[in-house]
């Protein structure tokens, strides 16, 4: 079994985002900010490793990341957690991955190429969304481009002996169970928060991960190898017009008694 897990490097979940108002659409500050693996991607890696641990036959987990040089750190984390090897499609340092430059269409186009280049991929596990752009489109676009079966927002994933995947999804109307039948195409599954709790990389595993292979290839070289069009991969289907911090909460107003409160509410049209 071969599992491909695309992972994204984003601003660490615990960091408070700073916006430089003079930078327009590129206002979210990325320099001197701690970056980590997107939490949903961590969940996807964890699930891939669990599926590998459970399978009776041999299995390989391949992590792939698209982004600047530092993405190798993110790939090393995936390898320390238990992935077998990494592929890093390196973009130039000033290309942003948070929707400002690269967008899900381009990423999914590249990932389709990676799936075909790898060959024999049984499953692509992705986070349901990344916490920087919150698009939640890459997995579904990839399934569409590959014309492959998909299940989104997985809260439980089981693999049958016949190569099928049974996926539970939590929906507003209850839990839905989907069976993805085995085909010649990989199954595409996107992972929800409830799927698992990712392990943390231990020091011995971090040291061992240094010996695992990471293939680094520039975006330009990969695009050429896959026979894609660089402009198409980098093209922005939508344009980010503006980015700004939430307005600070305004100070409250003190009122003397209930009657005054009611009067104020009526005045503002909040009560009839």
């Amino acid at each position: 079994m071969k599992i491909l897990v695309p992972i994204k490097r984003v601003i660490d979940y615990a960091i408070k985002i700073r916006v430089d108002p003079t930078k327009g659409a590129r206002g979210v500050q990325l320099s001197n900010v701690k970056m980590s693996m997107n939490p949903f991607c961590e969940i996807a890696i964890e699930e891939a490793i669990r599926l590998k641990e459970k399978t009776k036959t041999s299995a390989e987990v391949v992590a792939v990341s698209i982004g600047p040089k530092q993405c190798t750190e993110t790939l090393r984390t995936a390898l320390a957690m238990g992935a077998d090897r990494g592929i890093h499609i390196e973009t130039k340092a000033d290309v942003r991955g948070d929707y400002v430059d690269m967008q899900p269409w381009g990423i999914a186009t590249l990932l389709k190429g990676v799936v075909e280049r790898e060959g024999g991929v049984d499953l692509v596990l992705l986070g349901k969304q990344s916490i920087d752009s919150d698009c939640g489109q890459t997995g579904t676009l990839l399934a569409g481009l590959l014309n492959a079966p998909q299940a989104t927002f997985a809260s439980k994933v089981d693999r049958g002996d016949d190569g099928s995947f049974t996926v539970e999804r939590e929906t507003d109307s209850g839990t839905e169970v989907i069976k993805i039948k085995p085909t010649t195409l990989p199954a595409i599954i996107t992972c929800d928060l409830r799927l698992n709790t990712p392990r943390y990389p231990t020091m011995p595993n971090i040291m061992k991960a240094k010996k695992k292979p990471v293939e680094t290839i520039s975006l330009e070289a990969m695009v050429q190898e896959l026979g894609l069009n660089l402009d198409e991969v980098l093209s922005r289907k939508n344009e980010v017009v503006e980015v700004y911090e939430p307005p600070p909460r305004k100070e409250g107003e003190m009122v003397g008694d209930v009657m005054e409160l009611l009067a104020k509410l009526k005045e503002k049209g909040l009560v009839a």
Partner: protein
Amino acid sequence: MATLLSSSFRRAIADVARGNNVTSIRSRIDGVPSYSSMAVRSRLASSSSSSSSSLSTPPSFAELFNPTDDHRALRESVRSFAARELEPQALSYNRNEKFNVDLFRKFGSRDDGLGILGLTVPVIYGGTGMNDATSVSIVHEELSYSDPSLCLSYLAHSILFANNLAANGSKEQLAKFLPGVCDGSKICGMCMSEPNAGTDVLGMRTRASYDESRDGYVINGTKMWITNGTITGDETGDMYLVYARTGEDRGDITQFIVEGGTSGFTVGQKINDKLGMRSSPTAELVFEDVFVPSRTHLVGELNGATLCMMRNLEIERVALAAMAVGIARRALDEMIRYASSRPAFGRPNLYGFGQIQRHISESYAEYMAGKAYLYGFANGLDLTSCGNGLDADGVKLYCARMAKDVSDRAIQVMGGYGYVGEYTVERLWRDSKLLEIGGGTNESHHKNMSRDLLRLSGNGLE
């Protein structure tokens, strides 16, 4: 704009990292905030300020504090472990003077633990193989940020025992004893001080006499202030390196391995009611005709342990200085956060008040000075060498005092809140005091350093 939408997710995940239980997080994602997560959120929210620029320090500091990718990975790994595992338990274990054995064993490599108990021990003996003073500093700084006391037990085990044995033991001894030390199944320490011999360490009176008929040594004496001396309260821990007198000269000291359960080796008393470091167990250990075989339990050369002792004291002092740096960083974070959210005299926070400005800025400058001295020294320290005492004493002398001052200012900035346990800084203040006593008193550093500086004999420092 889209970037900002996920802030609720960030907070939810941050709560997970801070040890809130998963149910409460999930209920909040579903739109039902739980009481505990709201408390955390309001505390987190208090860290926000009106400034939109992030703190920027020159990259030379990043290189000084994390010289290699391995060091950065180590720091990140230990930091996230500390936030997830140490932080939620520190207050209650310290308050109740309880040693968190289960958590301590998670430092080991067994059961996919963090794998840092044998940090400096070669990989073939079960260790992590990060045999450099920078790695030692990083781990101690990061653990002490959350729980200096548990870090002290870690130090006794991984530096005073494991590192010392790895540096001075035979291959057979390393293969026999270290795997259990690294995986977390054994809890260990080191015995040097005695009831009447502390700074005057060579004044120790514990004696090991050779017994020819059994080819071994019989140890008699009492050792004091032994970190990890007892785990249960009435029995000793699993294994110790014990310094004992084996000749007539003042420097005739030999090092032995003594295992828990050996006949005549008992706990004199568990030392209770310490000012700080309360979740780290301390004991007096008594040796009455304790027999150890020479071949397997004598470490290094007969009468040759003074060198081992001095060499291991250097790395111990670096580790203690790193603990001080971790304490100071935490105290700073706490006072900065508090001062930014506490309204007073009609102002939204305390930053407009000169007295507070002074507490915070002086603390930061001293913290950075101590941290730069620490890593500047540690990055070049060869653990197999000796004679680096001047700066090993120097970093600990400076950083211990610095941590005490910074945590004291944190209490002052936070006023009544700083004075109670829930706000952490009073614990840091109490813990920091030990760093002026353990692993060498300030006075021993003064003595050693002035002796070394006298040797310049009038030549300049550089």
